[in-house]
C-alpha cells in the first residue's frame, strides 16, 4: 500500500489539492522542464514543403486567436469567480493560455513569419473571431456560468480534440509544441465540466439557458474547426469526428 493514494483523499482535500498553485507547479514541471518554448532542446527537424508550411501557418494563426480568447477570458473571469478555489485555478489557466500563445507565436516565427500579429489578422477565421467576441461579451457581462461553459467546455473540448488530431499528423516540431498544450488543456476542460456540473446539480433551472447558449455557439465553433481541418488538408474520410467528445460532455451535463 503506498503512502499517497489520491483515491483515498476526502473530497475537500482533493479539491484543495488540485486547485492549488502548488499542484500546478509540480504538474507542469513533469512535462515542461526539458522544453524551451514547448520544444525539446536540441532537437532539429526537417523543413516543410511550401504548401504544408502555408497550411500550417493558417492553422497556427487561428490557434493564436483561440489562445488569445482564452487568455483574455480566463483572466477576466477571476474577479467574478464565485470562490477562492476557482480564482486560484483560473490564475493557473491564465499562465497556461499565455504560454500557449507564446509557443504558437514562436512556432510561427520559426516558420519564417516575421510579423505574426498582422499575419493572424489576415488569416483569421471569421467564425472564430465571432466566437471570441461572444465569449468576451459573456465575460464582460459577468455571466460566470455562460462564460465558463463557452470557454472551458465549448472552446476547450473542441481544441482538445482538434489539437490531439493535429498532433498525430503534424511535423515533429509542431507535435512537440502541441503535446505540452494538450496536457494543459486537460486541466482546463476538466475544471469547466466539473464546476458547471456542480452548479447545475444545485440549480438545474440554469440548464435551459445554457442549452440555448450552446445552440448559438455550436455553429461557430464547429464551423471553425471544420475549416481548420480543411486548411490542414486532412482528407474527409480520415478526419476525426470533432463533435463526438464535445457531445459526450454536453450529454453528461444534461445540456442536450
Amino acid at each position: 500500500m503506498s503512502e499517497f493514494n489520491p483515491h483515498s483523499l476526502d473530497e475537500d482535500e482533493f479539491l484543495e489539492e488540485v486547485h492549488s498553485v502548488d499542484f500546478w507547479f509540480h504538474a507542469v514541471d513533469g512535462y515542461l522542464r526539458d522544453r524551451t518554448y514547448g520544444r525539446i532542446e536540441g532537437a532539429s527537424h526537417p523543413d516543410l514543403d511550401d504548401t504544408d508550411r502555408d497550411n500550417l501557418i493558417t492553422t497556427l494563426c487561428n490557434y493564436c486567436i483561440g489562445e488569445t480568447a482564452a487568455l483574455e477570458a480566463s483572466s477576466g473571469l477571476i474577479s467574478i469567480a464565485p470562490n477562492r478555489h476557482s480564482k486560484i485555478f483560473l490564475a493557473t489557466q491564465v499562465v497556461d493560455e499565455a504560454r500557449h500563445l507564446e509557443v504558437f507565436l514562436r512556432r510561427l516565427r520559426d516558420l519564417g513569419v516575421e510579423d505574426p500579429e498582422s499575419e493572424i489578422s489576415v488569416r483569421a477565421n471569421p467564425h472564430l473571431v465571432a466566437f471570441k467576441d461572444r465569449l468576451m461579451e459573456l465575460v464582460a457581462g459577468h455571466d460566470w456560468d455562460a462564460a465558463v461553459f463557452a470557454q472551458n467546455v465549448v472552446l476547450e473540448t473542441m481544441e482538445y480534440t482538434a489539437f490531439r488530431a493535429h498532433m498525430s499528423t503534424a511535423d515533429p516540431a509542431t507535435a512537440e509544441v502541441l503535446d505540452g498544450v494538450v496536457k494543459d488543456e486537460r486541466r482546463h476542460l476538466g475544471f469547466g465540466e466539473n464546476d458547471l456540473g456542480r452548479r447545475l446539480m444545485a440549480m438545474p433551472e440554469k440548464r435551459q439557458r445554457l442549452a440555448e447558449i450552446r445552440r448559438e455557439l455550436d455553429n461557430l465553433v464547429l464551423a471553425t474547426f471544420e475549416e481548420v481541418q480543411d486548411s490542414l488538408g486532412a482528407d474527409r474520410s480520415r478526419r476525426v469526428d470533432l463533435g463526438s467528445e464535445y457531445l459526450d460532455a454536453i450529454e453528461r451535463l444534461g445540456l442536450t
Partner: protein, 109 residues
Amino acid sequence: MPDSDEPGMIANRIEKVRAKREAGSERRHFELDDRGFNEVPKKWRKFYRHWEGDGDTLGPNEIICPVCKVVIRSVKELRPGDRLYCMPCMSRLLVVEADDGTLTTEVVY
C-alpha cells in the same frame, strides 16, 4: 445523467452499489509502477497512465476517465461503488456497472 439531479439520489445509488460490492469476494491488490505519466506531481504519478491505443487493455484495477481519457489506476481491483479521482482533469468519479456488466464510470460533479 438527468436522474442524478437530486443529491439524494446519487447517495442512494452509491449505497446500493456499495452493498453489492461488499457481498463480492476478496479483491485483488495491485502494486503500481510508474508508467511515465508526467502530468501530475510526482507522488501521484503512478496512479495514472496514458491509453496506448489499439492493442492496449485495461487491467481489473484500471478505468478510463470519461472526461479526459486518461487511464486511472487503483491499488485495488475495481468494483461498482468505488470512488476514484482523476487528477489530470480534476474529476471525481464513481465506478458503476454498465448494462452489459462491464465497469464504467460516472462523473460525480
